[in-house]
């Protein structure tokens, strides 16, 4: 029997393809329907992917659409790297991006999740895969040391499977706990 989550349509804004692949594995693992997910990755090229996500035609536009269709089963995930900031900094920046377009800030009841891995998604991936990690430094390069390209897909799938497990790494990766809380906004 299809889960309740499979009835939802979702848009997922991401900075890069690895983040996209992780959230795709995660959402499908959790019971969302593959065909009902739309990924909007930042294009590869020069410039700042975080600024791209905050730009008028990305996050604010998607929020505007979600609010117009709030009676429907739709959700928005905006996965954005924290770098050396805490998640609240990024969420505040996204609220400001909304306000700059004349929209109100994100409301508690809205199905908008903003998962913000400190530094980048690799911090979470290593934590979910039970490596000893903290948020003191970027793990972007060390991830490929553990998981070369041929092993990446399996690693992302395993990380997605571990999402709901109570992770021992939570105390050293607080952004992951925050991210799990964020995903609760869309019913996960």
């Amino acid at each position: 029997m299809p889960s309740e989550l499979s009835k939802f349509r979702g848009t997922i804004l991401v900075e890069d393809t690895r983040t996209e692949r992780f959230f795709r594995e995660l959402l499908i693992h959790l019971g969302f329907e593959r065909h009902k997910l739309r990924f909007r990755p930042a294009p590869k090229g020069r410039g700042d992917a975080k600024a791209w996500i905050r730009a008028q035609s990305q996050y604010p536009l998607e929020v505007r659409i979600l609010r117009k269709k709030s009676y429907e089963r739709i959700f928005l995930i905006t996965a954005i790297d924290g770098d050396n900031n805490d998640p609240e900094t990024r969420k505040t920046q996204l609220d400001h991006a909304l306000q700059a377009e004349g929209l109100r800030a994100r409301q508690d009841e809205e199905r908008i999740a903003i998962p913000v891995p400190t530094w980048s998604i690799e911090t979470w991936l290593l934590a979910l895969l039970d490596h000893e990690v903290d948020e003191e430094s970027s793990k972007k390069n060390s991830f490929e040391g553990y998981y070369p390209p041929k092993d990446e897909r399996a690693a992302l799938r395993e990380a997605a499977r571990q999402w709901q497990r109570k992770s021992d790494r939570i105390p050293t990766v607080p952004s992951l706990a925050d991210g799990k809380s964020e995903m609760g906004r869309i019913g996960v």
């Binding site: 909007r40 294009p43 590869k44 090229g45 020069r46 410039g47 035609s57 990305q58 897909r153």
Partner: protein, 371 residues
């Protein structure tokens, strides 16, 4: 994986080199050589695996018009089987007589010669590169498709097996037929032999039929099955028939494949290709595959294709479609350009994220990074 393609003095390619990634979105205005590039790549592969006559694959008309040289050179580098292959062909054109001759053809593996044709003589070397045999050969086509697999040439046969999985797909619904006389283990670029390939696919991949049906049921309302049925008193001839159901009572009915819409037929073919992609890692050369597919289906198909191709597959896709561009621009975009109408040149990832626009909008507005 193909790591390098070099083409010289062929159509709009002069001293042209491209070093692709695993997923490659080919962008550019009309006439910049994107589709031609896919065709050239397919023709190079066709020489080695299909035995296509050289003057059909590379007629004198393929010489670069503004170039006065009469020799074409193509190179294909492939990483795999624990090493690096290089396939090289050189063709000589007699323009006045419209005759094309194979000057030289080689396959190297980690700098060792596996195969060499030159001056009308053909040399086959053993896996370790030592000389095997030598005999005269007429260079109107490649000898490689005739090569017999033997223990001493496993490196060479691996390479040819790899090339057999390089598929060009440029669907033309008008040519797609639901009738088949024989089975075929490959799909023609225009999809015209789909029924023959589907017979082979359904025999070889019975495990794929159920998931294929499930996916098609999601994208084609009411779809239930696709099967090849015998045509009365017509020997081996088969005709593809699709079964659908309709209404709340799910009353079923059958319809000949040829009676489906262009979009339905293209969708079925693309999902069959997708389901086949994980059995044999493929290099797919896709020329505007989205042309006949519903907007809502494009990204899910691309996503699943990327997943199913796995680590050993490779994708080259030509597209002008915003949905394709926006999704694949996060991977590797290769911009084809012909400055001043000259030879094709390429640049990678010409997007400026600080514009805050989707990749397709950057293309549409002509805001790609200037050279």
């Amino acid at each position: 994986m193909i790591t390098r393609i070099y083409i010289d003095n062929c159509r709009c390619f002069t001293n042209f080199e491209l070093r692709p990634n695993r997923v490659n979105l080919l962008l550019g205005n009309n006439g910049t050589g994107k589709s031609t590039f896919l065709e050239m790549l397919h023709s190079i592969v066709g020489l080695a695996v299909s035995g296509d006559p050289i003057d059909e694959a590379f007629s004198t008309n393929t010489l670069t018009r503004w170039d006065t040289r009469n020799v074409q050179r193509m190179e294909l580098d492939v990483n795999g089987n624990g090493g690096k292959y290089r396939y090289t062909i050189e063709l000589s054109h007699d323009v006045a007589r419209q005759v094309v001759t194979l000057l030289r053809e080689t396959v190297m593996f980690d700098s060792r010669v596996l195969f060499l044709y030159e001056d009308g003589m053909l040399e086959l070397h053993k896996n370790e590169g030592t000389f095997g045999t030598k005999f005269p050969f007429r260079g109107t086509r490649s000898f490689l498709p005739q090569l017999e697999a033997r223990p001493e040439n496993t490196l060479l046969t691996w390479f040819l097996d790899y090339l057999r999985q390089v598929w060009l797909i440029k669907l033309n619904p008008i040519e797609i037929s639901g009738e088949s006389e024989i089975e075929s283990d490959s799909l023609d670029p225009d999809g015209s032999n789909f029924a023959s390939w589907y017979r082979h696919f359904s025999q070889e991949r019975p495990d794929a039929l159920q998931p294929l049906t499930e996916r098609l049921a999601k994208v084609l309302p009411g779809f239930r099955t696709l099967r090849a049925v015998s045509v009365a008193r017509a020997g081996m001839k088969r005709e593809l028939v699709a079964a659908f159901s309709q209404g709340e009572a799910k009353k079923s009915y059958e319809i000949f494949f040829d009676e489906l819409s262009d979009g339905e037929r293209a969708t079925i073919i693309l999902y069959c290709v997708l389901m086949d992609a994980d059995l044999l890692p493929k290099t797919l050369l896709l020329d505007e595959p989205e042309n006949y597919v519903g907007l809502e289906l494009i990204q899910p198909w691309l996503v699943e294709l990327k997943d199913r191709m796995g680590d050993d597959g490779q994708l080259f896709i030509v597209s002008h479609h915003p949905e394709v561009i926006d999704y694949l621009a996060a991977e590797e975009s290769i911009l084809f350009e012909r400055l001043g109408g000259g030879p094709t040149r390429v640049r990678s990832n010409p997007f400026d994220k600080d514009l805050g626009l989707r990749a397709s909008e950057i293309v549409e507005r002509g805001l790609l990074d200037a050279k």
